[in-house]
Subunit: 324 residues, 2 copies
Amino acid sequence: MKKGNPHEISVGVVGLGLMGSSIVVALLLAGHRVVAIAPLPEDKNLGPKRINEYLAQCAQSGMLAAAPAKYLAQLTVTDDYAQLADCRLVLECVIEKLDVKKSVFSKIATYLATDAIIGSNTSAIPISTLQQYVPQPERFLGIHWAEPAYLTRFLEITCGQQTTPANAEWVLELAHHWGKEPTLLRKDVRGFITNRLMYAVYREIFHLIENQKATLEDVDKAFRYDAGSWMTLMGIFRRMDYLGLADYAEMLKTAFPQLSTTDQVPALMQRMVDTHARGVQNARGLYPYTEEEARQWEEAFALFNQDIYHLSSKYPVRPLGRNA
Amino acid sequence: MKKGNPHEISVGVVGLGLMGSSIVVALLLAGHRVVAIAPLPEDKNLGPKRINEYLAQCAQSGMLAAAPAKYLAQLTVTDDYAQLADCRLVLECVIEKLDVKKSVFSKIATYLATDAIIGSNTSAIPISTLQQYVPQPERFLGIHWAEPAYLTRFLEITCGQQTTPANAEWVLELAHHWGKEPTLLRKDVRGFITNRLMYAVYREIFHLIENQKATLEDVDKAFRYDAGSWMTLMGIFRRMDYLGLADYAEMLKTAFPQLSTTDQVPALMQRMVDTHARGVQNARGLYPYTEEEARQWEEAFALFNQDIYHLSSKYPVRPLGRNA
């Protein structure tokens, strides 16, 4: 498959929810022509509105080389899958329901070249499972973004059992043109990397909470001001190297037998789901929210995204020193 | 016990290694008079040298209200424990050996008022254990800092079984004068909060690595660019609220049974310890280092500390919005 310049590669995005809209902006910023399919009628209006907003934010924070209109000229929004015909890559970002995804894959494949790549943004369904419903499954893989897609460097590329490695490597190379620091999982690990490791945190954290050994507030503070003070620079293993490794084996030997091994859903989380608490989205969650507070968190996160993106860009993987 | 102004409270610090020196600077910045005991002859010179360096860094990044000399005038460095007599609080930061700590506690208690507080920076020995070797154990507690102490908002205060809660609350209030976002653990949880949760991450992470499901580089990238993009703003539970809680119970039900439950020290970590790899400190670790690279990481971390400290100060716990 032809490698190279994003300007010469058309990319399709199917699904124009929050995540799909955000991915469209990331691709436009990288120089791609983008064909965006809005399968839901409501997203045909809301999707472009979001895309405009995100581009305006990017312009404001100095990330654009040209006016937003120049990027928008490269975008087609449609509900006609036939317009995907020229795309070398199509990203599926629809809801996490297998039936919906199956139907979307079949529509995409009807119009796409048989060697064009299809990626799914799923975080819930194994790639090897989804792959079974894609014609020419060897060109299918996971391409998992973090929100907001145009302001994060994270990207997880995951092979299913039938994925041809060369296809994953083609995406990996392209992802560097998107300004990502991509990771490539050659095996289909359930939960990929970060989700899976966060599950391990959740198991222990709910165990502490349920035994009244810590409060939600204290856990969040500890993470914000301890882990938050090195995470963006170092990750996990580099941090261990930085602290020196001498005591770790001893500490882990003492600690592991004390950790939770439960496979039960924490009662607190089950109660949240049972009572339809949806956190910031409906101002009812693990914490209480007024509507004003929920709005403030949305706003703070949007601003923080910009700050942490610019901060992390001063500390690339290589060279190690600070750029600016 | 008298509450109030740091300017009226003398604080003792015993142990002038990296951490002790850094804690001295945090206390000087908060306005305390500090009596620093250097039990190791080498630290009598190195300690003040480090303190001078840290203060110069603080001056450079605009954190000082006066010249470094003004802060240094409030500092006494000595090996004479009798000089602790006027202190209302003494922080023990010596190495993690019970025998050493026992002897230090006994020397501190010889000169200190019986109602003055004694805190330990230990992260390895339970507070309830240490407490047994402190005369008037009700005034003893854990006061656990993150490096660098003067540039992080993290502080874990931990009660042992015999600690009087009012003493912990006195420290909690004082810690706000130090510019901290302190947490108070009323029970003596092994590993406190963040260490314990990181152990849960380590258990799962080494499990993935040992099964060739991910590489060290990929794990670190995923953490830097995913978790790193929200950790400093949100912590764990707030993040769940932000993403909406609807799918969590389902996800956890699937995920928990797949997580590692081992209580064995990971072979890779054991090998590191057996071969005396000490990470950045001796340029041999989980990653390979040249001496130049080890130096670059030290430098990058020093710069990053300043950046993330200033960034996080724009997003306090309350009010929620951005300050600057």
